[in-house]
């Protein structure tokens, strides 16, 4: 019996130790890759004359799809903001997802729209379309309004995809503020690759809490004043500047935030559009698109831009943040479960051999492994089997490892974007990163566990997400773009700061 117990503890200790070291090693590799990718990106983009291209008729056609449900208060302004985006060959498709308020009538009146007989190729199945409207005013010729029966965000997006005529699609969470040349910058990778077909391109998302936004334009970047958004700022640096950049270098990116991504319409249609039945439809779509390309043996890539092009409001309360992380966990579980055939399957190349296992081990399973490690530690402590001296040494190593990558991402941000220029602002970011293992991270792990629990209970709701609105300048109208409150900016390979604590003993 003692021998058996002995073996079990031996194996578990080693597994936990290896898991943590493997995680640190993977972060280390990702850091190097992200610097490499960032340098390449910088070289390829610093000479581009975006102003010249903003008026070029030679750019590919692009459709922005913006679903809206009961958004009477903002729908007209939102549509105007999207119409004002700097892109020469643009179409804006607003999908009224069966709103119960007067959103539709407001749009019809504001843009002088008329219902037209419209042949719709039902490439993706959706709830019935009740009307297609175009403006009589040629100024708004880029605008297309689709009225359909309510079917949820994924359904509305699919209806928009059916209606869109652009070669490229972007599905925007319209409560985000985009940089004016964001579309141009994001389209570039689609045209700039000679060897591979680019199927999707993701952009860096930044936290807008605390920033000054006027008339839908970001005027001043400031770090958030509250703890949670500030902590998420560092978390987003780590996820975008390190994680996604590195995975883009490896062509192993599994997630493009629903908040802002551009997709090839042809491949989205081939893949079957957004899945209605998952809460992680953004990740699921990218994984499905990749899977199809792998199965067809076509050379392809998913790219990523480190330029901060999209600004969004982060949850400021633990309740909302908890719901968000809970949903992210469920979305990840659902996506990985659906595409489990790819796990360690060499036919899917790097996707099956690295990306999927990484997500499974270090994203999906991380909360479970962490909590297991903690419980294991407690059990060993009860039986006085923990060598506290060595435990604290290893804990220090893991915690410092977490700090190292947070600090590294702040350094990358300073070097590449240099948006938080005041040394006090920078210090604030470093200081908040130091608190992550004791405040933010345990909460995120707890929310992840709740996500697992909810998934087991087959809970499939999004959870209500509320926003407080962006900071605004006095006497300026802030365009708080808001359609379906999706809150879908999953920060991706989170590069979790603190892996599982290790139960150990000293010699």
């Amino acid at each position: 019996m003692t021998q058996l117990l002995h073996h079990i503890i031996y194996v578990i200790s080693w597994i936990l130790l290896l898991y943590s070291l493997l995680l640190l090693l993977s972060y280390f590799i990702l850091s190097i890759l992200s610097v490499w990718e960032l340098r390449i990106f910088k070289k390829h983009n610093q000479q581009v004359d975006w102003r010249m291209l903003a008026k070029s008729p030679h750019m590919p056609s692009l459709s922005i799809i913006a679903p809206a449900y009961n958004e009477a208060a903002t729908i007209v302004d939102n549509a105007r903001s999207l119409l004002n985006m700097h892109y020469p060959n643009l179409e804006v498709v607003i999908v009224n997802d069966g709103s119960k308020d007067n959103s539709l009538q407001l749009m019809l009146d504001a843009y002088d729209m008329e219902k037209l007989p419209w042949y719709i190729e039902p490439s993706l199945s959706t709830q019935p379309i009740e009307g297609v409207y175009k403006s009589r005013n040629p100024v708004y010729r880029k605008l297309l309004l689709v009225d359909k029966k309510n079917g949820g965000k994924a359904d509305a997006l699919n209806a928009g995809i059916n209606m869109a005529s652009g070669q490229l699609l972007t599905c925007i969470d319209v409560d985000c503020v985009l940089e004016q040349d964001a579309l141009l910058r994001m389209v570039k990778p689609f045209l700039d690759n000679d060897e591979k077909e680019i199927i999707a391109s993701g952009g860096t998302i930044r936290i807008a809490n605390g920033c000054v936004i006027s008339d839908g334009v970001l005027e001043e970047v400031r770090p958030p004043s509250k703890y949670l958004p500030l902590m998420q700022t560092v978390e987003y640096f780590r996820a975008f500047m390190m994680g996604r950049m590195a995975w883009a270098r490896l062509n192993g990116l599994l997630l493009i935030s629903g908040a802002f991504g551009i997709f090839s319409r042809k491949i989205v249609l081939d893949a079957g559009g957004y899945d209605h039945s998952t809460v992680g439809e953004d990740m699921e779509l990218v994984v499905r698109m990749r899977r199809i390309m792998e199965e067809q043996h076509k050379p392809y890539a998913v790219t990523f831009s480190p330029d901060p092009l999209c600004w969004t409001e982060a949850p400021e309360s633990l309740k909302i943040l908890g719901r968000q992380r809970n949903r992210w966990t469920r979305g990840t579980i659902e996506t990985l479960h659906r595409h489990q055939i790819m796990l360690l399957n060499p036919s899917y190349g790097l996707l099956g051999l690295f990306s999927y296992p990484y997500w499974l081990l270090f994203e999906m399973m991380a909360p479970l492994i962490e909590i297991f490690g903690m419980l294991f530690l407690v059990v060993l402590a009860v039986f006085n089997l923990v060598g506290w001296s060595m435990f604290f040494k290893l804990l220090a190593l893991i915690v410092l490892g977490g700090y190292l990558f947070s600090f590294f991402s702040i350094l990358m941000e300073t070097w590449y974007n240099h948006q938080y220029r005041n040394w006090r602002q920078l210090l604030k970011l470093f200081a908040v990163a130091l608190t992550e293992p004791v405040i933010f991270h345990p909460f995120v792990v707890w929310s992840g566990l709740k996500g697992f629990w909810d998934k087991m209970r087959k809970k499939n709701s999004w959870g209500e997400m509320t926003r407080v609105g962006f900071a605004r300048k006095p006497n300026t109208a802030t365009v708080t773009l808001a359609a379906l409150k999706s809150d879908s900016i999953k920060t991706g390979p989170e590069l979790r700061a603190q892996p599982a604590p290790l139960p150990t003993k000293t010699a």
Binding site: K55, M59, Y403, T414, A507
Partner: protein, 373 residues
């Protein structure tokens, strides 16, 4: 019992002593690295802020100089007095490389949006201020980023004396350098600058094609005499670009070469050729396209063929559309309806021949809206 157990577990469950010391050292290294990253970030921030402050200090003066040069009404080439004035302005530029580099960047940023006297004066100013030499000095730098910068600046400053050096770079191994050199050649020589296409054996990315087309749209004196050569290039991307030129500029007289390209293995190229033929067709084009229809590789290609045949709208084209309409369905039918209307055929005839009258009516209305807009 527990003590005994813990000692044996200690010996067996945990890594060796050697590993302990390694982990301990790793912890120390991590701590030092954290401190280093913190210091580095603060230092980079301070350095960037300092540079920005210096630039902010210099900016008003440099902006004033550029404003003067740009707003001067007389061309420096024609007026000795103006040349003297500009030289006097140049004398006011603070010494030091930073101010020159900043000035070069500002001039490079301003030049694309200028024309006429303002542009020539600014180019004269840049040359007299030694900015061309400053840029040229970087042309052979060991750092690729410096060379790319140099090529761009020399192109913008119209430094034609470096055209040979830049021409050599139009086929460079480094993609960014190559593309910047290609753009610089067009900036320097206009359409003649495109002669690099003849020798280019590297791919011409679609992005680069968009940039070149946009740049060429701003050039004077179009010269498409070499399009035939490019259409026959062994480089598929050059062929693609040539077809785009034919399409954008409606260049007639290349139909035979275009029709030959329908046999290209590249579907992307075939699609572009089909779309191009809609605007530059001759009396034989529809026959070629109808002949190609059965061997078209994809649905997209077939749809493009229908659209182009509808645009040509000669007798064989109309017969083709009529024949294809029978039994068609879905998006193919919609495309045929568009082609039908575009060919000038009567909608009534279409309604008589189609199965689902309601669907056909919707398609006709939609197609009429699209064609009208």
């Amino acid at each position: 019992m527990f003590n005994y157990l813990s000692i044996s577990l200690l010996q067996l469950t945990l890594p060796t002593e050697h590993l302990y010391s390694t982990l301990y050292s790793a912890t120390i290294v991590m701590l030092l690295l954290c401190i280093l990253l913190f210091v580095l970030a603060m230092w980079i921030n301070a350095r960037k802020n300092k540079r920005m402050a210096q630039q902010n200090k210099l900016q008003p003066l440099l902006e004033y100089l550029l404003e003067y040069v740009i707003l001067t009404e007389e061309a420096a080439d024609d007026s000795e007095e103006e040349r003297q004035n500009i030289r006097a302005m140049i004398a006011r530029i603070p010494n030091g490389t930073q101010s020159r580099k900043m000035l070069l960047a500002m001039v490079a940023e301003s030049l694309p949006s200028l024309a006429g006297v303002a542009k020539t004066n600014l180019q004269f100013f840049a040359r007299e201020a030694g900015l061309v030499d400053l840029a040229a000095a970087q042309l052979h730098s060991s750092t690729i980023a410096n060379r790319i910068n140099a090529v761009k600046h020399l192109g913008l400053l119209q430094a034609t004396e470096y055209k040979k050096a830049m021409f050599r770079l139009t086929n460079a191994a480094d993609k960014v350098l190559r593309e910047e050199a290609q753009l610089a050649m067009v900036r320097l020589l206009g359409y003649t600058g495109l002669r690099f296409l003849k020798v280019l054996d590297k791919p011409l990315s679609e992005w680069q094609q968009v940039c070149l087309l946009q740049l060429m749209s701003e050039q004077k004196a179009p010269d498409f005499s070499r399009v035939d050569l490019w259409l026959q290039s062994s480089n598929e991307t050059v062929q693609y670009f040539a077809v785009r030129l034919v399409c954008e500029n409606s260049l007639f007289g290349h139909q035979d070469l275009l029709v030959k390209l329908l046999q290209s293995p590249s579907e992307r190229l075939r699609l572009l050729v089909i779309k191009t033929l809609a605007s530059v067709f001759d009396e034989f084009t529809s026959a070629h396209l109808i002949q190609h229809y059965p061997v078209a590789g994809s649905r997209e290609e077939k749809l493009a063929l229908i659209e182009t045949i509808g645009a040509i709208a000669d007798v064989p084209a109309c017969d083709f559309i009529r024949s294809k309409m029978i039994g068609s369905a879905g998006f193919e039918k919609f495309q045929l309806v568009k082609a039908w209307l575009r060919a000038g055929l009567a909608p009534e005839e279409l309604l008589e021949n189609s199965g689902d009258e309601r669907e056909t009516t919707i398609m006709i209305s939609h197609a009429q809206y699209l064609l009208a807009s």
